[in-house]
């Protein structure tokens, strides 16, 4: 079970809800992923077209926990404002703190992220900060009281997979709260690797929504996360430099 604050989840895959080709495909992909936590962004409503369909309104909210993000924020104050707006919906108390410090790489601003996390924890939010794979920053966020740490695998939407498995494994080893690898996942192998490294979960969006067949990819990611987790729990063999025969060397019938 994945435990985040007071909540428990049987799925370790967290799914983003952006950029799907259609609402129908999105609904099917969400279903196929088995995800129980879905991320959303907070944006201005087009008040002149109330009939516009909204994915969230078509969702059975008893089946999912919402994880709104603070995307768009560049300062801690902006992130806190977005988080408060999200909470005022009455639908959620978890927040993905996302404070971007660089437009080109979309890498998080560590100083503002730390500040936002502190302010939101004081207000009683369940705080999950999106952070770089910096080991010490992850530690600092945990010390503040964050309920999970979400280091990126590589830049958001890049699909480059896990660029620094060493740092991720350091973060995972030292953490006493769930570590969810967030951003940069490209294919199922990336998700499985994150889980094999010992991550408690994987958060991805574009890898599914941008796939040629998002529904099939959602299922692939579900299986990859499950396989990676099982592999981690099973304990993989250490890597050796030379071969080691699987068949016995004794009792060979020599002609």
């Amino acid at each position: 079970m994945l435990k985040i604050g007071p909540y428990e989840f049987s799925s370790r895959l967290l799914l983003g809800t952006g950029k799907y080709p259609s609402l129908d495909v999105q609904k099917e992909a969400v279903e196929a992923s088995g995800a129980e936590i879905l991320t959303f962004a907070v944006r201005r409503m087009n008040i002149f077209s109330p009939e516009q369909p909204n994915f969230l309104e078509q969702l059975d909210l008893s089946k999912y926990k919402l994880l709104p993000n603070t995307a768009g924020a560049k300062t801690a104050e902006e992130a806190v404002r977005i988080a408060r707006l999200a909470k005022a919906s009455g639908l959620c108390d978890m927040i993905k703190v996302e404070v971007i410090g660089c437009d080109k790489t979309l890498l998080p601003d560590p100083v503002e992220t730390l500040k936002a996390a502190e302010m939101l924890l004081e207000e009683g939010f369940i705080v999950l900060p999106y952070t770089s794979d910096d080991v010490v920053l992850a530690k600092r966020l945990e010390e503040l009281g964050c309920h999970a740490i979400m280091p990126g695998a590589s830049p958001i939407g890049s699909g480059q997979g896990i660029i620094n498995p060493l740092n991720l494994s350091f973060i995972i080893e030292q953490a006493n709260v769930p570590v969810i690898v967030d951003a940069g996942i490209g294919g199922p192998a990336d998700a499985a690797l994150a889980m094999e490294l010992g991550a408690d979960g994987v958060l991805l969006n574009t890898a599914v929504s941008g796939a040629a067949d998002p529904v099939k990819m959602a299922k692939a990611m579900k299986l990859a996360v499950e396989a990676g987790r099982l592999g981690y729990e099973a304990g993989r063999i250490p890597k050796k430099r030379y071969a080691s025969a699987s068949s016995p060397t004794e009792g060979m019938s020599v002609v």
């Binding site: 983003g16 809800t17 952006g18 950029k19 799907y20 999105q26 991320t39 959303f40 962004a41 907070v42 944006r43 201005r44 409503m45 008040i47 002149f48 109330p50 909204n54 994915f55 969230l56 309104e57 919402l66 709104p68 993000n69 995307a71 408060r84 707006l85 999200a86 005022a88 919906s89 009455g90 639908l91 958001i156 939407g157 951003a183 958060l203 991805l204 969006n205 574009t206």
Partner: protein
């Protein structure tokens, strides 16, 4: 009355007096909308009692797809 809604200047009829009236006027009353008036978040139970004044800055936001 003239309001600034989501950054746009919008004139609404005189019968719009509260946040509830405003949402009903734009047919947003059964949408998952979150409202802020002059940078103060209005909780749902305050919609009916929060009066709007000429020049108020109103933000109406909702959840959209995002990662």
């Amino acid at each position: 009355m003239t309001l600034v809604i989501n950054g746009e200047t919008v004139t609404v009829p005189d019968e719009v007096k509260t946040v509830s009236d405003l949402l009903a006027y734009f047919r947003l009353d059964n949408k998952l909308a979150i409202v802020e008036v002059n940078v103060r978040i209005i909780q749902k139970h305050e919609y009916g009692t929060t009066a709007l004044c000429d020049g108020d800055r109103v933000e109406i936001v909702h959840f959209v797809g995002g990662g």
